[in-house]
């Protein structure tokens, strides 16, 4: 897979739903006949992938929210993995 550009806008894959489940204390990704319970960072990233914010925006937002820096490579790696699993798609 080619490197994801900072300007590309990840969005949830077609037919998928992401929601916070209090009973599981986690974000859960729902898809046809299956679900994935996301860990904290995956949930934080995925819930920002709205097709409006760019990858760059998402990284900046996360760094602000978690008072951290240098999150770029981790976020990009997760987004790449999620695209591979078809959890996310890129919007140009």
């Amino acid at each position: 897979m080619s490197a994801i550009e900072a300007a590309s806008k990840p969005v949830l894959g077609h037919g998928l739903r992401l929601q916070w489940e209090p009973a599981q204390d986690a974000h859960v990704l729902l898809f046809p006949e299956g679900m994935v319970k996301l860990n904290g960072s995956a949930g934080a990233i995925m819930s920002r992938c709205d097709g409006v914010r760019s990858l760059g925006d998402i990284v900046a937002d996360l760094e602000l929210a978690y008072g951290a820096t240098g999150l770029g490579p981790d976020v990009e790696a997760f987004v790449a993995l999620a695209i591979g699993k078809r959890w996310l798609e890129l919007r140009a």
Partner: protein
């Protein structure tokens, strides 16, 4: 993170990776809710997993009852919802049930043969918030021959498939495989590709309910299975990412059992048309399991307190070789229904396991299948089609003698 494999007609529902409650701890929520809305169905599948005595069960729940079950289960944390049957489209309140489920936050899967899915109904279901439709090709050789020869049923399915695409649903096809259609996997996949399917589940028959009665006629040979897997591999290599093909191997050919339902009472709750609550949709056959009913008990009480749902939680019920087996946290001793059907005791190891002293029951069934396939070259005979007019009690052991 954990995945659940697909579930559908003829498939044994969520097994595998979902973390089960550790022994002694409070069980987690019933994440998976399966509502079998009706046993009514226009088809007569030889491998239907509905109980063979289904004609003797009570009246169907009312709309209000189903809505209450949805609310109660969602409050406990249920989130994946399967609507199946029978044929769920036979309920004319399906749209109201879907609307309520969506408002509650369920992800809603409709598991249907497609019969009765008109444009008006799919439109109404879409507006009500249905998330996903699994179109199943179920009817044994009759429908499959039809399908493969592009005749009547195929036309109908193709129309339904077109509607599913038109209404922007991901297209998931489920085809139940057995001795009489497994050699056509290549044609089945080609047809699925022409229909524009994104996911195809090639689900080998699991031997419960009607399929159990027909096991001696349905179990494929190992050579058939290997050919089908080879064809599937070649197809996957050709289509790449465009289509996802799941191939569910019949567990009779394995040496370890499936982690059925991640252990009974850990994530899965099924409700039968008459309101009977079950820790697995085949559990009705288990003797002495006093299954609670949603008409008389709240879902919370059923899930956390009922004897039936606690019966197979943890590992206290296990017998040897499971009780001291290092793999018991992985497969939970396999399927209770299979243990009961084959050995007559639901507490035994699933005889698919080659550590089970009853494993020969499985290997002998496979050996008979080898001989039968070699002898008959695929003639269909003596199949018991699911029928509302006949009701057959569950017989355990080896049905071979009387089959």
């Amino acid at each position: 993170m954990s995945d659940l494999p697909p579930v559908g007609h003829g498939l044994a529902a969520p097994s595998a990776a979902f973390a089960a409650a550790a022994p002694g701890r409070t069980p987690g929520p019933p994440l998976w809710l399966l509502l079998e809305l009706t046993y009514r169905c226009p088809l007569h599948c030889v491998f239907c997993y509905n109980p063979t005595e289904f004609a003797n069960t009570g009246a169907e729940l009312s709309t209000d009852d189903w809505l209450r079950v949805l609310r109660e289960a969602r409050a406990l944390g249920a989130v994946q919802l399967g609507l199946s049957g029978g044929e769920p489209l036979a309920r004319d309140d399906l749209e109201s049930i879907v609307a309520e489920a969506r408002a509650l936050g369920f992800y809603i899967n409709l598991i249907t043969s497609g019969i009765g899915l008109s444009e008006a109904r799919i439109g109404a279901l879409k507006r009500a918030g249905l998330d996903h439709i699994q179109l199943s090709f179920q009817d044994s050789s009759r429908e499959m021959n039809d399908f493969l020869s592009s005749t009547r049923t195929f036309e109908l399915k193709a129309q339904v498939a077109a509607l599913i695409r038109q209404y922007d649903y991901p297209m998931v096809l489920n085809v139940v495989l057995h001795r009489h259609n497994i050699d056509h996997v290549g044609e089945i996949l080609a047809m699925a590709e022409r229909m524009g399917a994104q996911y195809v589940e090639l689900a080998n028959t699991q031997y419960y309910g009607w399929a159990w009665l027909n096991r001696e006629q349905l179990l494929p040979s190992r050579a058939q299975l290997e050919r089908a897997e080879e064809v599937t591999r070649a197809f996957r290599a050709r289509v790449g990412n465009r289509m996802q093909v799941y191939f569910v191997v019949p567990d009779y050919f394995e040496v370890r059992p499936k982690a059925c339902m991640s252990g009974l009472g850990s994530v899965f709750l099924a409700v039968a048309p008459d309101g009977t609550a079950m820790p697995c949709h085949a559990a009705r056959m288990l003797p002495g399991l006093a299954l609670p009913n949603v008409r008389t008990s709240p879902v919370r009480e059923i899930w956390y307190e009922s004897t039936a749902f606690n019966r197979f939680r943890g590992q206290g019920w296990m017998k040897e070789p499971c009780a001291s087996c290092p793999e018991r946290d992985t497969d939970f001793g396999g399927c209770r229904c299979q243990a009961y059907l084959l050995t007559g005791d639901a507490d035994n190891a699933d005889p698919v396991c080659d550590l089970s002293p009853h494993h020969h029951l499985v290997s002998e069934a496979v050996a008979r299948a080898e001989r039968a396939v070699a002898a008959s070259a695929g003639q269909v005979q003596k199949l018991k089609f699911r029928d509302h007019r006949i009701s057959i009690p569950v017989v355990t052991g080896d049905p071979v003698a009387g089959a």
